[in-house]
């Protein structure tokens, strides 16, 4: 494991923020920390990146004990934190060249890398303007670019796409994809489930300072059940009849939909429709839905009260 943390605990005053967090990322892997506001994601990233000292627990980065030997660990990773870490009163190029000098690359190499990164992040046109005049999306991009100057083996990204528009987010995802193909190991935090689903090899769900679930996005989805069928029924009587036929179904009265577990196959769909026609239930529409990380997230971070309706799948698979 390139990044390995065990038993991380951290309290600020009397508030226990982390309570025994374990996680690891193998070389070249993308690990996403997913959790609601205040779950402790930033605190975890700050501990991994030696900015915060854990009360208990160990952190190893490429075998180096990051708690005991922070200086050695720092040569192995870079951090793009949640807050912007760019000098506003320097130009984009100056910021990048400075990072090159701090990475001890030498003058010429620092300049060359700055040019490369400006190009790669589509910032060349603004390179010689002070960052204070840049848009939020451009600032987020240079923030990441600055973390890449030293060619880190491990990259910690705390909410890399917060504040980006959909196009900016897509570009950031592409960039992150490139990094991963180049062999960089990534630990990122996000509140966008779609982002975790798309980027991560493995997801760690964090809530209230604990890991509530972890695994591949697919494995997590099976935790809240497999494929299902959403049937929209024409009237309330029909709704009751379906509920009688399928006691396990989840009924949403307002939306007049019934959700049934399914194997995702056409045969099951036909069987259900035939059965409903036989029972005289008028069906308005049918959707085949796969669980999304949204479902996992909602199911595992905010245990629903018994009366609350089962969360309805947000996305649908054709």
């Amino acid at each position: 494991m390139l990044v390995e943390a065990t038993g991380l605990c951290k309290s600020f005053g009397a508030t226990r923020v982390l309570d025994g967090v374990d996680l690891s990322a193998a070389e070249g892997e993308v690990l996403a920390l997913l959790g609601p506001n205040g779950a402790g994601k930033t605190t975890i990233v700050r501990i991994l990146s030696t900015l915060t000292r854990p009360d208990a627990g160990t952190v190893r980065i490429a075998g180096v004990d990051a708690v005991r030997e922070p200086a050695r660990a720092r040569a192995l990773f870079s951090l793009t934190g949640q807050a912007s870490a760019v000098d506003d009163r320097q130009t984009g190029r100056e910021n990048l060249v400075m990072m090159g000098h701090l990475a001890h690359l030498g003058r010429r190499e620092s300049r060359r890398r700055a040019d490369d990164l400006l190009e790669r992040f589509d910032l060349t046109h603004a390179a010689d303007r002070r960052v204070q005049t840049w848009s939020g999306g451009m600032r987020r991009r240079i923030d990441l670019a600055m973390s890449l100057v030293g060619g880190p083996r491990v990259l910690f990204l705390d909410e890399p796409t917060t504040g980006l528009d959909p196009a900016g987010r897509a570009t950031m995802w592409d960039t992150i994809g490139d990094l991963v193909r180049g062999g960089t190991t990534l630990v990122l935090t996000t509140q966008h489930l779609e982002e975790a689903d798309r980027l991560a090899d493995r997801v760690v769900l964090v809530d209230g300072g604990r890991v509530t679930a972890s695994g591949t996005p697919e494995a997590l989805k099976t935790l809240v059940g497999g494929d299902r069928l959403e049937i929209r029924v024409a009237d309330a009587a029909g709704l009751r009849r379906v509920a009688d036929l399928h006691p396990a179904a989840v009924v949403d009265r307002e939306g007049r939909t019934v959700t049934l577990p399914s194997d995702g196959g056409a045969a099951h769909l036909h069987a259900v429709l035939d059965e409903l026609r036989a029972a005289g239930v008028a069906v308005d529409g049918v959707r085949s839905a796969r669980p999304t990380l949204d479902d996992v997230f909602l199911a595992l971070t905010r245990p629903a009260s018994p009366s609350a309706p089962q969360p309805v799948a947000a996305g649908t698979a054709a």
Partner: protein, 266 residues
Amino acid sequence: MTTALAAPAVRHTGARAALSDRLTMSARSLRLTSRDADTLVMSIVLPVLLMALFVYVFGGAISGRAEYVDYVVPGIVLLCAGYGAASTAMVVAADTTSGMVDRLRSLPVRSSAVLTGHVVASVARNALSTAVVVGAALLMGFRPDAGPLEWLATAGVLLLYVLALSWLAALLGVLASGVESASALSFLMLFLPYLSSAFVPPETLPTALRAVAEHQPITPVIETVRGLLTGTPIGSSGWLAVLWCGGILAVAVTAAGWAYRRRGRT
């Protein structure tokens, strides 16, 4: 493009890397300060205003204006250094609470390099202020009788004083929880020159204040500068000034580095 990401084989330890980090951070702070219009304007306008205030407003009331100019210039130079240091405390506090500091701290860069950068910028700002004060003083009738050697010695004493004050300001800036508290903490630095021999001879002060004035670090520095520039007797002030400044410098450098490292690892 992926070539840009290949991990370079470089060393981050050793004296060369340490020196390089200090130079890089100094260049950063100098660049930032040269673009910080507010702080820069203050460090030029304030000395001129103070000079004019003391010479034209108080100078007439206190005694002969010409003699008072000669008396008061060293005090104003030091007062301005105090203001310069106060702004350094605020710059350091702002930087230490910004997101940038997390980035710098997560790099294999010695933490003292960041503070060294701030102090270099502070000394540069103060050198500018001091040049402006002396220039303004000369225009307003200041007539020093110092030769090249005395000017050089003056520059040396002032440099030591400004260095000590800048590191002290850096320490306060790191200890402060924000820019406002940094400015509150550095209040003392602005206030001390008034309780010294800067503007009135200590003999004229009430006994309690006089004791403060005679035993605080600013008085020997002022007496030394005054002696070097206008030929008043220096006596023991010279080595007292060097001792005070050297002592403050040593303590502040150590404490600031310690506080900076500590503060990061909450």
